[in-house]
């Protein structure tokens, strides 16, 4: 499925959060959505998921608006991992992951064999099977995040939209989850993932979209998007760069000084 957001504007009260954003993602693409806090990443992801209606603009799924597809069909094809998807009731891990199959289920029917298989695959991929019977509230933050990711994977949609899935994870699980998302994309799904770690974004995402002030500042391969000028404008920092085994790593180094014309200049050493 191809998801195509055109000229998206979103306003919350007086705050204009998105100002004319366009973003198209095709099957098999792994897109990293990056930008400073408040740049509009989460809002854009919610618009793509059909959870937030845009004030202006439209999102087309394979050329059709969400209304033409229907809520249930859209829910089967677009999986969304929300940022604050916290389980309130003390559900078991298996029960939470099974929620991802709700778009497939008939009222009063239990999990079908296909549902159970999908739940098993998702739990296996996110490595949550060892604690499938435990209550979600008793898990560590990282384990809980993987359970929620498994819930989104269980939808087995054509598109996976993940809002900061690695923010609470330790380094090993960050790498594992990024590899898992990339594998999901390689199997043919379009993946859009909101990230703050620029190194992981550059390493794992074939394409980065940099948002700044509710607009797309840059869209393309990591080397181009993470150019010093773009990073300075979007984040207000300089990057230290290094290389290991042919791949670049990036560290936020220091804030940039703002020049007299409003342009960001990279501050000299000392």
């Amino acid at each position: 499925m191809r998801i195509d957001a055109r000229d998206i504007h979103v306003r919350f009260g007086d705050a204009q959060v998105l100002r004319g954003v366009a973003l198209a993602v095709g099957p098999g693409e792994m897109v990293g959505l990056i930008g400073a806090n408040g740049a509009g990443k989460s809002t854009l992801l919610r618009v793509l998921a059909g959870v937030q209606a845009p004030g202006e603009g439209a999102v087309l799924y394979d050329g059709r608006p969400s209304r033409a597809i229907g809520e249930r069909e859209l829910a089967r094809r677009v999986a969304f991992l929300a940022q604050d998807g916290e389980a309130l009731w003390p559900l078991s891990v298996a029960a939470v992951v099974a929620l991802g199959r709700l778009p497939y289920r008939r009222p009063f029917a239990g999990l079908s064999a296909a549902d159970r298989a999908a739940v098993g695959r998702a739990m296996g991929a996110a490595e949550v099977k060892p604690f499938r019977e435990r209550v979600v509230g008793t898990l560590s933050g990282g384990e809980r995040m993987r359970v929620l990711l498994a819930r989104a994977l269980a939808v087995e949609g054509d598109i996976l939209l993940a809002d900061e899935p690695i923010a609470a994870l330790d380094p090993l699980h960050q790498l594992q989850v990024m590899a898992l998302l990339r594998a999901t994309a390689r199997r043919g799904a379009g993946v859009v993932v909101v990230l703050h770690d620029l190194t992981l974004a550059a390493r794992f995402c074939g394409r980065l979209v940099l948002l700044s002030g509710g607009r797309v500042l840059a869209d393309g391969p990591a080397e181009a998007v993470l150019a010093d000028a773009n990073v300075a404008e979007a984040y207000g920092v300089t990057l230290a760069r290094g290389e290991r085994a042919g791949e670049t790593y990036l560290l936020p180094w220091e804030p940039v000084a703002v020049g007299c014309h409003g342009h960001a200049h990279i501050r000299e050493e000392r």
């Binding site: 998921a49 059909g50 959870v51 969304f80 604050d84 998807g85 389980a87 009731w89 709700l102 009222p107």
Partner: protein, 346 residues
């Protein structure tokens, strides 16, 4: 090999969960029927219930048949209907608000229904028309529903609904007090106060036939919301992404609550704590899944209400304790225990 083993384990796990749920529903349904039978047996005059039934079926107009048909049967049926309505609505409201302290009256329906009945009392219609009281209660609930619909139609979220519920309940409470304040004589005021305490005494089969279809429709709306309430477990964004329309869900739950609880209050007055306590007691038994809690809470509410109503008649206290008083006296300490347990878990 291990794949086979794990799929067998998964099936057993799922079967045991589904089977346990079905067994729980069956047990509670049987318990409800048992409590209805107990309710038929509990009364002030000695009554040979099987003989009375035989008379009733044979069409013999004996006193026993009359007592059964006009007194015992309506009371047992209404106990089950009102209890089921309170239990299921409490579970639905807790699921919608994702808050364990929500109760059936949280959106203001029950306060408005009580006011509707009080207005009928106050106007003197209660003495003139047989079903004026429950009809007044239903009218009050309907009025509150219109207000809530208007709010949801304008895009109000769940929190706005709760605030609207607080406002409706306060306003209805104030108007109820006003009616008491201006009541023409102390006798009328006492009558209103006693009615508000909640009771199933002296209701007729006409009350049953009036409320049964409304409640049944309300229950259906609430039970059909089960999958959406499950989806809401992980928050509103996730529920939307799973294909649930939350505006429609809110309207469905308001309608369901208004039909079920509005009718319950209209026919029985205010019976507190059943809708709060029952979902809590049963939640661990359904794996804390909001969708599965609905039906079992309905039966649980029926059992609790019927048991309390039987206790009211069996306790050697006269005048008869009001049902709402008993459920509150039993329910409030339970709430303390619940708070204590929630603190310990946190």
């Amino acid at each position: 090999m291990s794949v086979v083993a794990s799929s067998v384990a998964a099936r057993r796990w799922d079967w045991s969960e589904g089977g346990r749920y079905a067994a729980l529903v069956a047990i509670l349904a049987v318990a409800t029927i048992g409590c209805m039978a107990a309710s038929l047996l509990a009364g002030y005059a000695p009554l040979d219930v099987p003989a009375a039934f035989a008379d009733l079926v044979a069409g013999r107009d004996t006193l026993a048949a009359l007592v059964l048909l006009e007194l015992r049967l309506p009371r047992a049926l209404l106990g089950a209907l009102v209890g089921f309505s309170l239990g299921i609505t409490g579970a639905a409201m807790q699921g919608l608000l994702r808050n364990p302290l929500a109760e059936p009256g949280v959106v203001g329906i029950s306060g408005a229904a009580a006011l509707g009945a009080v207005v009928v009392f106050y106007s003197g219609l209660a003495g003139l028309v047989a079903l004026a009281l429950p009809l007044g209660g239903i009218a009050g609930a309907a009025l509150a529903t219109v207000v809530l619909y208007g709010l949801v139609g304008r895009g109000a979220g769940t929190m706005t609904l709760v605030l609207a519920g607080v406002a409706i309940n306060s306003f209805a409470g104030a108007l109820t007090s006003l009616a008491l304040n201006l009541s023409p004589n102390p006798y009328a005021a006492t009558e209103i106060i006693f009615w508000l305490m909640g009771s199933l005494a002296d209701r007729s089969l006409a009350h049953v036939w009036l409320t049964l279809p409304l409640m049944g429709l309300g229950w259906a709306l609430l039970i059909l919301s089960g999958p959406a309430l499950d989806g809401l477990t992980l928050g509103e964004d996730t529920a939307r992404s799973l294909g649930f329309n939350l505006e429609r869900l809110r309207l469905q739950l308001i309608s369901g609550a208004a039909l079920a609880v509005g009718s319950a209050v209209a026919v029985s007055g205010a019976i507190g704590f059943v809708g709060l306590v029952v979902p809590h007691l049963l939640r661990p038994l359904v794996g804390h899944r909001p969708g599965r809690l609905l039906l079992v809470s309905g039966f649980g509410g029926a059992v609790l209400t019927l048991a309390a109503d039987a206790a009211v008649r069996l306790l050697p206290i006269r005048p008869e304790l009001k049902l709402g008083v008993v459920t509150a006296i039993v329910g409030a300490p339970f709430l303390f225990w619940l708070i204590y347990r929630l603190r310990r878990l946190a």
